[in-house]
Each structure stands twice: as C-alpha cells, then as structure tokens.
C-alpha cells in the first residue's frame, strides 16, 4: 500500500481524537461553569454578610454596562457607581459590624450556561435575616414589648436573586444582578401582618433615605412588587431557559415583558 493511504488513515484518527478532545473540553467547561457560577453566588453572599464590599466588588464585571439593582433602591450602572453604593451602604450600617447582621442565603438554584459558553443566567431563592442598630436619629421604628430597651432590631428578609454572568478573562463575573425583596418584616411580626408591614424599617425602605447615603441610582427601579397579604404576587423573576447565545435570549432581570 502507498504511504499516502496511511497518511490519510493517520489524519482520520487524529481528527477523531481532536473532535473527542473538543467535545470533552466543551462538556467539562459547561459543567465546571455551573459549579463556578453557583460558587460565585455563594462567595458573594458570604462576603456581603460581613460587609466586605471590596471582595464583593471584585466579583462584578469591568464592563461599562455592569449593573446592580436591590429591591426598590434603583439601578446602579457601572462599577464606580456600584462601588459607591456598597461603600455608602456599608458605612450607613456601621461597617465595623456592631449590632449588624445581614445574612441572605442563596438556595434553590436554577442555572443555565449559554451553549457558546460565554454567558450564564441564574435565579435563586434567598431566605434571610437581618439586625440593625436603631440608636440612630433616622430610625423611626415601632418598638414591641419584647424589644423595649434593646438597641438593635431583627427582621426576616426573604427574596430572590436573578443574575446574568459573563466570562471575563477566563473568570465568571456578575454582569447584571437584581435582588427582588419578597418581604421584610420584624421578627415578632409575620408577613401577613398588613398593618405592620409598611411601618417596618423605614430607613431601609424609604427611597429618600436610601438615596441620601448612596448618592442616588443611575435609573429608577425596574420592579418593586413585594408580597402583599391583600394582593397577588406575580410570578417574577422566572428561571432561565436553555439558550445558545446572550443576544435574543430571555432576560432574567428587569421587569417582566408585557
């Protein structure tokens, strides 16, 4: 047989190995991406609970259109604006941590990695609890019998995270993050206590108070619906669907489409 025949056979074997290699790389990197993205959210929440916002910031993309939206506080666009938000938010709640408890766990993940491997989307439920010192002039919170005389107030804070991620220099980064608060209510009250709901934590809930320490958002909030014992809560955000590329895919952040 001629040598060219064997050359062709070797080429064929080589291309079989190449295709196998690329299939393995694609499969493994998609599986790894899901783990990385889930870990990224875990790291975000662990550092956020200790108000370590320099670490938190490092998880955000360097793109100009990077964004952060937390419940009704508006949309913060660009890393400098997000940094400012965190810095002032942290300072407003006594960054040293005295009396502050700020734990928002993430659970129930639904994560989709784009087929092209460049972006990812995810949603998480987020049960949480907070405590804040209330010996500040702007904290006008009704005291319950059990809390009388104490200088910190505790609350339940349940919500959802919806996040879009982007691969940047080989690392997954938060591109668009939105936290949807479902309810925040004092420890001694329940989420169905209508009369207590609106009075709770005016310092956090009031946009004016928030703007005063964050410098104001880049844009108005896109979605502010919370659980209302007298109304219905729309199904939003929704889990991401499998998608090929970011362009044209259904967003998980912002307001639901009409």
């Amino acid at each position: 047989m001629k040598l060219s025949y064997y050359d062709a056979q070797l080429d064929r074997l080589e291309s079989m190995i190449d295709s196998l290699e690329s299939e393995i790389t694609h499969g493994v990197s998609k599986a790894q991406a899901k783990i990385d993205v889930n870990n990224l959210m875990g790291k975000y929440t662990f550092y956020a609970r200790y108000m370590m916002y320099n670490r938190v910031l490092s998880y955000f993309s360097n793109r100009e259109d990077v964004s952060l939206e937390i419940s009704d506080l508006g949309v913060y666009i660009g890393k400098a604006k997000i940094a400012d938000f965190y810095k002032k938010y942290c300072a407003a709640f006594d960054g040293k941590g005295y009396g502050v408890l700020h734990e928002h766990a993430v659970s129930t993940p639904v994560i989709e990695i784009a087929e092209d491997g460049l972006t990812a989307k995810g949603v998480w439920l987020s049960p949480g609890h907070e405590a804040f010192p209330v010996d500040r002039a702007d904290a006008d919170i009704e005291e319950t019998e059990a809390e009388r005389g104490h200088k910190v107030r505790s609350s339940w804070v349940y919500g959802k995270f919806a996040v879009e991620f982007i691969l940047e220099d080989g690392e997954w980064k938060i591109w668009h993050m939105q936290y949807f608060r479902t309810f925040q209510i004092g420890f001694y009250d329940s989420w169905t206590d209508v009369e207590k709901k609106d009075a709770w934590f005016t310092v956090v809930r009031s946009r004016e108070a928030a703007d005063a320490f964050t410098g104001g958002p880049s844009a108005e909030p896109t979605y502010t619906r919370e659980y209302d014992p007298q109304g219905t809560l729309p199904y939003w955000p929704k889990p991401p669907k499998a998608y090929d590329t970011y362009e044209g895919s259904d967003p998980v952040v912002g307001a639901p489409k009409e």
Binding site: I24, S107, L125, T192, P229
Partner: protein, 246 residues
Amino acid sequence: MNDIIEAKIMELETKIAEGRKKLELELKRADACMQVQNTLNRFLFAFQGKDADACVEEFADSVEISFEIFKFGVFKSKENIKRLLRDHYYMGEDIPGAHIEMNSLTPCIVVAGDGETAKGLWSSFGWEAYPTTEGPKASWNANQIAAEFICEDGKWKFRALQVFTTFVSDYRKSWTAGEPDWFKPDFKGWPKAGDKWVDYADGPTTFYRPYDQKIPRLYWPQTPQPYYTYENSYPMVGIPPEGADL
C-alpha cells in the same frame, strides 16, 4: 506488515469510539447532577409563582408518573396534578395573599450508572400564607423532598416527586404544637364557597408522618444509593420497602 498496520488502525478506531462512549456517558452523568437540581428548582419556582402548567411541564411523558404532597394522596397524571395545584394551592387564581415558598437545600443526588435515570433527596424549609375567609394565615413549612428522574430527549424530568412534610406550623406557634387548623380536612374557612378537602387522588397517601413529639422519627425517605439501572433500584418515594432500616 500491511495487515498488522491495518489491524492496529482498526484497534485504535475502536478504542477511540469506546472511549468517546464512556466519556459521553460520564459527562452526561456529571451534568445530570446539575440538571436534576434545575428540574426540581424550576418546579419550586413555578410552585411559588402559582404556575400549574410550568409545574407539570417538569414531569415525564414516557413513563408512569407520581406526585405526592402533604396528605392529599398520590396523583398519577399531569391533569390530576394540575387539578390539585389549582384547587388546593390556588394556582391560576387571584386569591389575595396566597403564597407558598419551599427552598431546596442539602442536595444528595445519585445518577444511575447507565445515565438514564437519577434520584435525589433534599431538605426544604419555607414560609407560606394560606388563604382563609379571615385573610391569609402565616405559617412555616419544613419538608424533605424526594424525587426520581428520567432523561427524556436530553431533558431531565420527574417520574416521581414526593414532598414529605416534617411540619407545618402556625407562624406564632412552634412545630411542637402540631399543624394549624387551616390544614385540617374539616376546616370551614377556606376562601371559596364549595372548597373541600381533595377527594380525587389516584391513590391514598403513602407516608405521612410529620414531626410529632409523641412518636419517634423514622428514617424515611432515605438518601439515594448508587445503582446502575432503574429496575429493582431502591425507591425514593412511597412506602418504605420491607426490611428498610428506618
């Protein structure tokens, strides 16, 4: 000499093809661990979003399915599951304040050696507001969620899903106080005229043993054990098999 080279080429070809099959299977099994979590969690998101269609979309079409929650019995068709979700969880209706959220936590997942099925067990904790004629009532829920999955056209679907109640307790009472009145079959304060306890299950409740301080806890459901094919594998749902170490 040529024959030897030809044989070697064939041997390499076979080796590559076999290697590809093995790797594809292992990749599928690794990916399945995340995919089945997505399936359960899409269901839980749709459940809190009161979208009955999206809930039943997560169930399989190619095999018999089952769904069991609380003590309503076993439901074995998508139609009947949807009916339960609409009637008792008020999905698709604007009942003020109605909301149930269950978080999935502590996943323990095993994918079959053949990569065709998977099983999982989760802890679950959540909050709810159950509608009554006096307005929504707040309660905590704690459960264990056991599920069996099948891969259908590349998508992981439930073949069995059972939410085992650990407790449902009034927000203002502890789990040692038992379930609130509005979870009892003879409760008269449900919000719609004609509301009644579900009576169209496809089978009776298989296992309902919430926390009760007077009764010892049983280790059921159990964490999934490694298995190769679904047939004769240890079940995740229903009644504990005979001889189970409970």
